[in-house]
Symmetry: C2
Subunit: 186 residues, 2 copies
DNA sequence: TCCGATTTCGTCAGTCACTGACATATAGAC
DNA sequence: GTCTATATGTCAGTGACTGACGAAATCGGA
């Protein structure tokens, strides 16, 4: 009965966005979202493991791109440089997904349950970066430290880029790194 | 009908710990936890807003201590120094709560739902630190950056202290800060 | 063109987290 | 010995999520 092929997922995401914008996240049920998409609640949970996930979308190329960039970085680079270089390489992905991300950002920020999920997602990316460093021989705790610091710069750049999209994400990331350097060498 | 006074909460926490250690988090229901504590499920949810919360415990002095330390830091200090100083001041609280934290740490690490909550809690602390910096006139994005970097050092120190409790947490935090300084001044 | 396999969805029944409303019993103030 | 605030029990209900099963549509090939 493959009626819709793949756009069922997109319809569900769109329906979720609209309903949550209208009534708030807690006040919209998964059944309502499915109904607006012309589907059943059961089908909703076939496309999303979670009610929250309908408001998110991780580019499937993100994680592979990060791990690959981590693995292919030049030898002898300090850990934080490796992380920054990897994060720089996925800038275009961020820019590509802005149309999806932008309208959902304020909703996520305003909904504790969604913010929690967002925090977990960045934490998962930090783990990915740390794992990449460990695979290059960096000690575990140090790897986690560098990964967290790198992601902090990334978040800084992301926030700046959301405020001012006229500049490339890359430019913002460079500025974030500069702010970082001005920070610790006390 | 105040039969148990305040230790009902502790009994629930203890029951939750035991049952989760025995059968895993997902396989233990809130009703079972309440039953082992000699209480009802309804009472469980009067003591914890969430099933997950039975495995956590935030010292009520933590957040006030942090905000106070942030506010009372000397003028003219760079943001990261302020954060580090505040985090240093709550080291004793960490050490005091080790008996509660230690046995729950592996469970949280092994359970995605609990890890998500833990991530959210650290994110909330980061927000608290950032707010403290903003109140001192630090620009928003820069405040967030310094708060995240500071919390990264704190996490580093916490992990090191859990591995080696013979040293003070303060010592580990100093070493974390040193590792941080060796990191960025490239 | 017909057929079998795969995919995508609907239906149904069920579990579990969590909540509101109301009753009840206990500890402590007086 | 009342009176009151507090801690708990009971009950009914909502909503997220899952497993099992069936049905229809698509696709590959004979």
């Amino acid at each position: 009965m493959p009626r819709n092929g793949d756009d069922a997922r997109r319809r569900l995401q769109q329906a979720a966005l609209e309903l949550v914008q209208e009534h708030g996240y807690d006040a919209t049920t998964s059944a309502e979202i499915a109904a607006r998409a012309g589907l059943t609640e059961r089908t909703f949970f076939r496309h999303f493991s979670d009610k929250r996930e309908a408001l998110f979308e991780e580019d499937p190329r993100l994680r592979p791109a990060l791990t690959e960039a981590m693995a292919e970085a030049a030898q002898g680079l300090p850990p934080l440089e490796i992380v920054l270089q990897a994060l720089r390489s996925v800038g275009p992905l961020l820019e590509e997904n802005r149309a999806f991300t932008a309208p959902r950002q304020p909703i996520i920020a305003a909904t504790p349950a969604l913010r929690e999920r967002a925090d977990a997602k960045t934490a998962a990316l930090i783990s990915l970066l740390a794992a990449g460093l460990r695979q290059r021989g960096v000690e575990a705790k140090l790897a986690a430290l560098a990964a967290q610091v790198g992601m902090a710069a990334f978040s800084y750049a992301a926030r700046a880029w959301f405020e001012d999209p006229t500049e490339t994400f890359d430019v913002h990331l460079t500025q974030a790194f500069q702010a970082l350097n001005r920070m610790s060498p006390g």
